[in-house]
Amino acid sequence: MENERGVGKCEETHLGSYGYPSRPEEPYQFCPQCGKAMVWACPSCDTPLPDDSAELEAALFCRQCGAAYFPSAGVDNKGVTSRQVV
């Protein structure tokens, strides 16, 4: 049986993965680099994060439902964080 695989990232755009050879078998909760929460799927609709690394790094919102991946960071659905908006 094919084991489950996926990619994710934290709020600081540190990328992670699980299920691949030499990687953790399960998705882990916190980023090993900064300790912030890891996101592996859309918190709203559970769609997995994009598996293209460039897209994964840039993505802030879910393709399927438009929900922010890091709502706690104050990201609105206009594509910028509310902290950045002057």
Binding site: M1, R5, V7, G8, K9, H14, L15, G16, S17, Y20, P21, S22, R23, D51, D52, S53, A54, E55, L56, E57, A58, A59, L60, F61, R63, K78, G79, V80, Q84, V85, V86
Partner: protein, 356 residues
């Protein structure tokens, strides 16, 4: 006076390159065997995984598969080799007679050539001399050794493929694994597809040759059919050999039979090139004839018959690598945004958003 300044990094790179070239020159035979083993591994891995999923231990799966393949090759060789020795002996003993038949046949079309005399003057002792036997013996010994080495290397690679996979993934930064996976799958599809496609085309030409030779009444039809299947592996030249050998065998019966066989084989080659190959390989080996020709010539010049055999999978693999590099370069120029569109500069976005 010219003064050249170089950083330690540049010196290190040049030293490493020189080391790589020296190693390549010293170890090219082993590298070549390893490359062939990797090609076979890519072709056989899906079948090993299929057996492993059905609870057959990995080592047993690999051994089972390799022994089955070697048994088939040995069986086919046992069919071909004695028959070819018979054909060669017959040709050597009766060459002047066949030459006379050809002279008479060509004379009917107003073509006059002196073949019988030339056939009588062929110095067979020189062709099959002691030195030639030693040369052939050495080549056969080297081929047997190469087949044995490739088989053992392929077996190790197949058994160790999970460990090999872990090793490769260790060099990839987190989050980029799916790209490596897609890249490896593309390589496996191209190389494995080439081998599977080649098996199909070889089987097809073997069956066609068998049917034609049986219908025309040429001796040793099975041996010639198997041989046609084997030589079909060689790009471009294989088609010529697969046509010439049964035609010569048919000529030993009569020139008319030879012409029928020749016509059928030429028609088949057209069918294979225009219909079979595009459908069997599809996009797997979507290479222009010019690229194939250049690759085969370069492969032959560099590595002889091995180079000719490796030319197509090497070029197809090269195409996958170049496509991957171009895709990455394109991403660097226009990194995709959350919707796949190029990202707008941060500052502009902020200003626009705040302006609204």
């Amino acid at each position: 006076m010219l003064k050249i300044e170089m950083s330690y990094r540049a010196i290190l790179i040049i030293a490493l390159l020189a080391l790589a070239v020296w190693l390549w020159l010293k170890l090219w035979t082993i590298i070549l065997l390893l490359a062939v083993a990797f090609i076979f591994m890519a072709a056989l891995l899906p079948y090993v995984e299929w057996l492993v999923q059905r609870r057959v231990p990995r080592t047993a799966s690999v051994l089972l598969l390799l022994f089955a393949i070697l048994a088939v090759i040995a069986g086919l060789s046992a069919l071909v080799v004695p028959a070819m020795i018979d054909e060669f002996t017959d040709l050597r003993d009766n060459l002047p007679e066949y030459a006379r038949d050809l002279e008479v046949f060509l004379d009917n079309f107003g073509i006059e050539v002196e073949l019988e005399e030339r056939a009588r003057n062929v110095d067979w002792d020189e062709i099959i001399s002691g030195q030639a036997a030693v040369d052939y013996g050495q080549r056969i010994a080297f081929t047997v050794l190469a087949i044995f080495s490739v088989t053992v290397l392929t077996a190790y690679l197949l058994v160790d493929s999970p460990r090999l996979s872990r090793l490769i993934y260790q060099f990839v930064p987190p989050g980029r694994e799916p790209e490596l996976e897609r890249f490896l799958q593309a390589l496996s599809r191209v190389v494995g597809g080439y081998i599977r496609g080649q098996l199909l085309t070889s089987l097809s030409i073997a069956i066609f040759t068998l049917v034609v030779l049986l219908a025309v009444g040429v001796p040793n039809p099975v041996a010639f059919a198997v041989l046609a299947g084997f030589v079909d592996i060689i790009p471009i030249i294989g088609a010529v050999i697969a046509t010439i050998l049964p035609t010569v065998a048919a000529f030993q019966e009569s020139p008319t039979q030879a012409i029928i066989v020749l016509a059928c084989m030429i028609l088949y080659q057209q069918f294979e090139d225009r219909f079979l190959v595009p459908r069997v390989y599809g996009q797997t080996l979507n290479l222009s004839q010019m690229v194939v020709l250049i690759a085969v010539l370069a492969g032959g010049q560099l590595l002889g018959i091995t180079g000719v055999l490796l030319a197509l999978p090497a070029v197809a693999t090269g195409r996958v690598v170049i496509e991957y590099i171009l895709e990455k370069r394109q991403e660097l120029v226009t990194p995709p945004g959350p919707t796949g569109e190029p990202l707008a500069p941060d500052t502009d976005t902020k200003e626009e958003e705040s302006g609204k």
